[in-house]
């Protein structure tokens, strides 16, 4: 959007230049391959060697005035088509240009700064571009889900199968330990918020115990709110060599989202309706008892019911059961309500320079468990207006609302997570609703009372978000001459949302009563208000000379972000219909706030020479932030890059570009400037003393430096493109906590130190092996491999377990140690002494070893699209090789001997107790992420429907996550009990199971 407006501003319709004596008007038409029957509007036609140019109108016609009567070269360019240059000899004033479709999407504009972009043909970085169409080919619930498998170098992992999102994108490995780990998201020039707000599940699950929310609340990162259908394209700056332009926020990469804009010409109305259904993708199963005596034997072993009378009673209980073996997962995860999604958009523009794009979305996804859902509504209005010949204004806004109910899942200590209940309930016990509407009290002696069906029925966990994103951009062409333009751009924007999460757990629930005792009846309310405000300004000077083109830009970027999260828990609410915390017997309030102000200056020079073959770039970004110890100090982040399109190639080679880029970015400290006071109460009166964690007055951002190099090769008539990139990213000045001698009164202090080095390779192969009129096959394959290592830790920091990285070494924990991978897993592996008769190796005698790594060996994506006639079949397969997960869910089943495969389970359990890492499992997988079969209705049919108003209609049948091939024994190898965090993600603790989704869509265009 911005890039186009810059070009638009730069290419005045009429040039006001130092006058040349003779003016010549060249007109013509730009068409697609269909010739006259396929005019292309909105194509840019520029006069090579000058800044002169214009855009084609709705009929594909253009008109440019050139000062020369001699030969001129025109270049025509349009998104989706390969650019073409034609020479117009002297004396000719009319020319038609036919463009060829860019099937492999080799042409794109790549962002290089706040207001600058270069053609991907010249780009010196490996920037991934995903078009809106690729993003929404199969409806995905959220943007980050939609990016799975499509970006080389990105590992996009879902946290659980719960509806509404919760996904983490990791670009080029783990780049921090205590700092910020999320990539930066920029929508239409505005930095938007991707925080996760802990929604209080802990107060009923007891995962972290206590009365407050925790990191085990299965929370969702808020980029999930955005509507993927509004997106024109996404560009991903994968590492500091590219993201240097975002200074101390760029270490983890930047995801730049551009939304759809209006277009002059015919008004387009698009309407899509989808209907779908989700089903449980995998079951773990529970043990089936085949006889009363088998059950009484089990009870004797596990419960200690060895007495004869008890045995008999237990066998009788079994014999009396109506259903001898329930399939609990089938009964519980069976929400088969229809999911729907309705998307409508209007796009158009008039002759007086107004363009608009309006879209609306209403969708509902259903979770697998009863009463779980994800509902989202959004309205977007993007308006553009060109005023005069120099000024272009744009205003984009999106208003959205979502409400999610995800139920309870993940770790718990209160016997409330369905997985925990199934692992503790012998499978002949009936848990479904009784005929009179009540729920049976779970008779399992291991979990008195807890009934997941009742919990799903009576416990409410709605999380409602209202969000407004808005931005306004003005581009002013301050000066325009034949060879020079100067443009000013100013963008201001806001991302603000209010997230309200409630939990209502009535006192009469069996789990609630058992877990909370006298204080049964729990309410939780969280109100979070976030505002991000941005103001960016830039000046771009473009100079076109015969030998070189120079694009100089400079500007500033200002960001202010603040939030307040107020949470309150109420316990002991005895009246079930009351949802006000003021009725609680005890309340526990908590509030967090923060305000950050950032300011940056930047300057950049992009120098094209050697007939646009060589691009040299140098830039610097100087940023200060109130998060740093010295709030006034500017930290500088330089970048340098070069790309060269090799000339004189053999005929079958179309393009060979070599590139090298170096850049520095940073990661702001998230804390550590201050030594806080800890408040203590004495007889209810507040006392205070310094915290045991010492802050550092000079805390500074982590520094990431990246060197990236590669080449892009296009051969065989642009039908095959191969791209290879290698990079080395080094992160210094890591934010760490060093242990200090406790006799100083402090136990640790914040420091900057240590180093992580990430190295990797990314390969991409795009090809159209078959390209005929009746049948085409387009294939995209990506390969990425990344290795990260902690190369050093500073003095005072011994190897440690990162926060939330462990449920105990006996299962497997994350571990930070110099010389080891950042994602290494540590566990016990062996016993130092001979095993005692009990078969249990004492903890003190177990050998600690490094037993696995959470990082995959490599990942590959296979994206293939076959078009035959009006039908199209597209599929996306993702392969992740290697990578380990700690499967604690198995331990639940093993401990009580209620796993479906009792033999494997008990062998595993026995081995575990001898001190072996049995729960660390290989989590490699191949997933069929997307598959779509579409059929375009023939023109003869569409023209007759709706009296010709319908332009095109397509029917589609699609599936998401239909099949997973994996050796992993848990629900889904993609899992994280702690939701989003940089390390220690790989923990599977009775998560929400994954679903596969089938969709039927009707896509129409008017």
């Amino acid at each position: 959007m911005k890039i186009r407006t810059v070009i638009l501003g730069a290419l005045a319709v009429l040039t006001a230049s130092a006058a040349q004596a003779q003016q010549r008007r060249i007109t013509g038409r730009v068409t697609g391959e269909g010739g006259a029957s396929e005019p292309l509007s909105g194509a840019s036609v520029t006069v090579v060697g000058t800044t002169i140019g214009s855009y084609t109108g709705p009929d594909g016609r253009f008109s440019v005035t050139v000062p020369s009567t001699g030969t001129v070269t025109l270049r025509a360019r349009r998104i989706g088509y390969t650019q073409k240059s034609v020479t117009v000899p002297a004396g000719q004033n009319e020319i038609d240009i036919a463009l060829v479709r860019d099937v492999l999407q080799l042409e794109a504009q790549v962002v290089t700064g706040t207001a600058t972009a270069v053609s991907s043909q010249n780009a010196a970085n490996a920037v991934s571009v995903v078009s809106g169409e690729q993003l929404t080919r199969v409806a995905a619930p959220t943007i980050d889900n939609a990016l799975q498998g499509k970006v080389a170098g990105a590992i996009v992992s879902q946290n659980s199968g719960a509806p509404g999102g919760g996904t983490q994108i990791q670009l080029r490995g783990v780049s921090t330990i205590l700092g910020n780990y999320s990539p930066l998201y920029v929508v239409d020039g505005v930095i938007v918020n991707n925080n996760s707000i802990n929604n209080g599940l802990n107060v009923i699950s007891g995962a972290a115990r206590g009365n407050y929310s925790s990191s085990q609340d299965q929370s969702v990162n808020r980029i999930a709110d955005l509507n993927p259908n509004d997106i024109e394209s996404i560009q991903i700056l994968k590492g500091p060599s590219a993201s240097s332009i975002y200074g101390s926020k760029g270490t983890n990469g930047v995801i730049i989202i551009t939304t759809k804009q209006g277009r002059a010409g015919q008004t387009n109305v698009d309407f899509t309706q989808r209907l779908g259904r989700s089903t449980l993708a995998k079951k773990l199963g529970t043990r089936c008892f085949t006889s009363g005596s088998e059950y009484s034997d089990w009870a004797a072993n596990v419960l200690g019911d060895t007495a004869v009378a008890k045995r008999a009673a237990n066998a009788a209980t079994y014999n009396a059961a109506a259903v001898k073996c329930h399939d609990y997962e089938d009964e519980f995860y069976s929400n088969d309500q229809l999911a729907y999604e309705s998307i409508a958009s209007v796009r158009g523009g008039n002759q007086s320079g107004t363009t608009y794009f309006i879209s609306g979305l209403a969708k509902q996804d259903n979770g697998l468990a009863p009463n779980d859902y994800y509902k989202k509504q959004s309205l977007r209005v993007n308006v553009g207006q060109t005023i005069g010949s120099r000024l272009h204004l744009n205003a984009n806004s999106e208003l959205l609302h979502s409400i999610t109910q995800r139920g309870v899942s993940g770790n718990d200590n209160n016997g409330i997570s369905p997985g925990n209940i199934f692992a503790s309930t012998p499978s002949f016990m009936e848990l479904r609703r009784n005929s009179d509407g009540t729920f049976p009290v779970n008779p399992s002696p291991l979990l008195p009372g807890s009934n997941p069906f009742q919990n799903a029925d009576i416990i409410k966990t709605p999380e409602s978000v209202f969000r407004l994103l808005g931005s306004a951009t003005g581009t002013f062409n301050a000066y325009s001459a034949e060879r020079q333009t100067v443009d000013l751009t100013l963008t201001g924007g806001i991302d603000s949302y209010a997230d309200n999460a409630k939990i209502v757990s009535p006192a009469y629930g069996y789990t609630e009563a058992a877990a909370q005792g006298a204080l049964a009846g729990t309410l939780f309310n969280s109100d979070a208000n976030f505002v991000n405000a941005n103001l960016n300004g830039s000046v771009v000077h473009r100079l076109v000379m015969p030998v070189f083109t120079a694009q100089t830009s400079a500007g500033f970027r200002q960001e202010r972000r603040q939030y307040t999260i107020t949470q309150i828990t109420g316990r002991g609410v005895i009246f079930p219909t009351v949802t006000s915390v003021s009725q609680a017997a005890q309340t526990f309030p908590n509030q967090n706030q923060d305000l950050v102000k950032d300011f940056a200056y930047y300057a950049q020079e992009e120098f094209f020479t050697l007939q646009d073959r060589l691009l040299l770039t140098a830039g610097v970004n100087a940023e200060r932030s109130s998060n740093n110890g010295d709030q006034r100090k500017f930290y500088t982040y330089p970048k340098f890059s070069a790309s060269y399109r090799v000339p004189m190639l053999p005929s079958f080679v179309n393009e060979l570009k070599t590139r090298l880029a170096y850049g520095m970015a940073g990661n702001q400290p998230t804390g550590g400037r201050n030594t806080f006071l800890t408040t203590l109460l004495y007889e209810g009166v507040t006392g205070a003393r310094s915290s045991t964690i010492k802050g550092a007055e000079n805390i500074r951002p982590e520094k990431a430096t990246e060197l990236e190099g590669g080449f892009d090769l296009t051969v065989l008539n642009s039908r095959v493109r191969f791209s290879a990139t290698m990079y080395r990213k080094q992160i210094d000045d890591l934010l760490l906590q060093a242990a200090v001698a406790p006799s100083t009164g402090f136990t640790s202090q914040y420091i900057n130190g240590g180093q992580i080095v990430n190295r990797g390779t990314e390969l991409e192969l795009d090809a159209t092996p078959i390209d005929r009129k009746e049948f085409t096959w387009v294939s995209n394959t990506t390969f990425s491999q990344e290795r990260g290592k902690v190369t050093s830790l500073p003095a005072g920091v011994n190897p440690f377990i990162p926060a939330s990285g462990s449920f105990g070494t006996s299962f497997g924990n994350a571990w930070i140690q110099p010389g080891q991978s950042t994602t290494v897993i540590q566990s016990y592996q062996g016993c130092n002494i001979a095993l005692p008769a009990s078969g249990v190796c004492p903890t003190a005698q177990r050998t600690i070893a490094l037993v696995g790594d959470a990082n995959p060996d490599y990942t590959m994506g296979f994206n293939n699209s076959f078009t035959f006639g009006r039908a199209r079949l597209t599929g996306l397969l993702e392969w992740r090789k290697g990578g380990d997960v700690v499967n604690l869910t198995n331990n639940y089943f093993d401990g009580y001997n209620l796993a479906a495969d009792t033999l494997t389970s008990q062998i595993r359990y026995k081995t575990w107790r001898t001190g072996q890492p049995v729960y660390v499992e290989n989590a490699g997988f191949v997933k069929l992420r997307e598959i779509t079969l579409g059929y375009d209705l023939p023109a003869s049919l569409t023209q007759n429907l709706l009296r010709g108003a319908l332009q095109s209609a397509r029917l589609e049948l699609s599936g998401r996550n239909l099949k997973t091939w994996t050796k992993y024994s848990g629900y889904d190898p993609e899992v994280s009990n702690f939701s989003n965090q940089p390390l220690g993600r790989m923990q599977d603790v009775t998560p929400y199971p994954p679903s596969r989704q089938f969709l039927f869509s009707i896509i129409t265009s008017f």
Binding site: F599, L681, P742
Partner: protein, 475 residues
Amino acid sequence: MRKYTTALTAGLIMAAACKDNPVVPPVDSPTTNAVSGQLTAAGVKTLALGVLANDRNLVSELSYSKLPEIYARDMYRIDPNEPRYVTETLGGSADPGGFSGSGGWTNGYVTIRAANTLLAALPNTPETQLSVTQRQVVAGLVQTFKALDYYRLLELRDTLGVAQQPDNDPNTVGPIVCKAKALDYIAALLDSANTTLAGAGTASLPFTPPTGFTKFGRDYSKAANLVLFNRGLKGKVDVYRGLQHQSPTAGAFTQAIAELSTALGTATPGGVPASQFKTGLYHTFVAGGTENAPNPLSDSRIGVNPKAQAALQAGDARASKIIPLAKAISGSGISTSVTYVGSDAGNAANLTNPIAILRDEELVLLRAQAYFEAGQPLNGLADLNSVRTTYGLSALTLADVPTLAAQRDALLYEKRYSLFFEGPQRLVDLRAYGLLKAGITTPELSSDPFNTAIPIPKTEADARGGRDKLTPTCS
């Protein structure tokens, strides 16, 4: 012209944006900046309460409230989930890296850091907030508590030494000093606090202290009474300096006698009435709620060593401190069927029982101890009997305890049962008299190592570069 406009516009935009103040103070939690610089009266109160509250945290730790009494063989704690309460105390050595060896250290130094911070800030408090004498009262109180916490750390570490935290430098790690030097340092701190308090005259604390200061027989918000607390503590320290042969033996004890007499309010041996025994400065406890600081001894897994009950003399009213358990507890090789009256978890009142920091009954017995050690057995017996007879036992005569050894035994008996489960006093005494050894004390388990001190935690050793860096210096 156009270029000027461009530059001007751009410059204006940038200048306008620049004006946003980059400094953002922390809004979420208070930082130490809030209490550096000039303090207000409220700030002084908050920081002083912080010192007291953190001292209470130290007292509540298992390493202070339980382990020393277990080492002293009065307490058992039998917990099937945590056998280390026995295996690392009576059955083996403590592990400096975990459970029983790593506590009772950090909290002491956090309190000392809090005291040092307040002491450094007090001189800067303007007189409009606190008068000079009020400042002196607070300084005296805080300095006494600072000495108290060093003493508590030494009670646990004994000859291993303690670290001496630099007063005003949070970044420097202080040296580990030997026991003798530590006692000297504590004595000096107490004397300096005493001088400050004396200068405050009749002033009181500028804030209402917790009820443990006022509800137990004496109003310690007054400087004059804080002097008594200070002198009592100094007397206690001097008794142990004497036993260490610091100063010439007699001198230390004579000094102790004088200090303890000041604290007790009478120099007459045996002149302290029984009604005064419970008078003192106490920590109070709050069960549940946000504060959640219950009395640490209220614990169903605590029991009393049957030998402690067996050693009671017939007719001793203090036998009421030992009550039978509903069900005998046993594990890890030991068992008992009795517990401390304050450990009965079924009695909710036990959660809020106060714990004495220093009370007069202890001071009387300390004075008796000083008299005995100083070679004044008749005076010692006078004090000893004033306690003994209160509990229904017959008074002792010199003929009953003719030797110093016999006198010590009699004294240790009284101290044991008068101060039963009230702190590490018994462990300190058994150690001081060399009684915690094989051959003198009955082993509890066959592997009983007769532990006398809790090790310095591994975190301290690691931060200094290894356990070899923990050797105390004595010069």
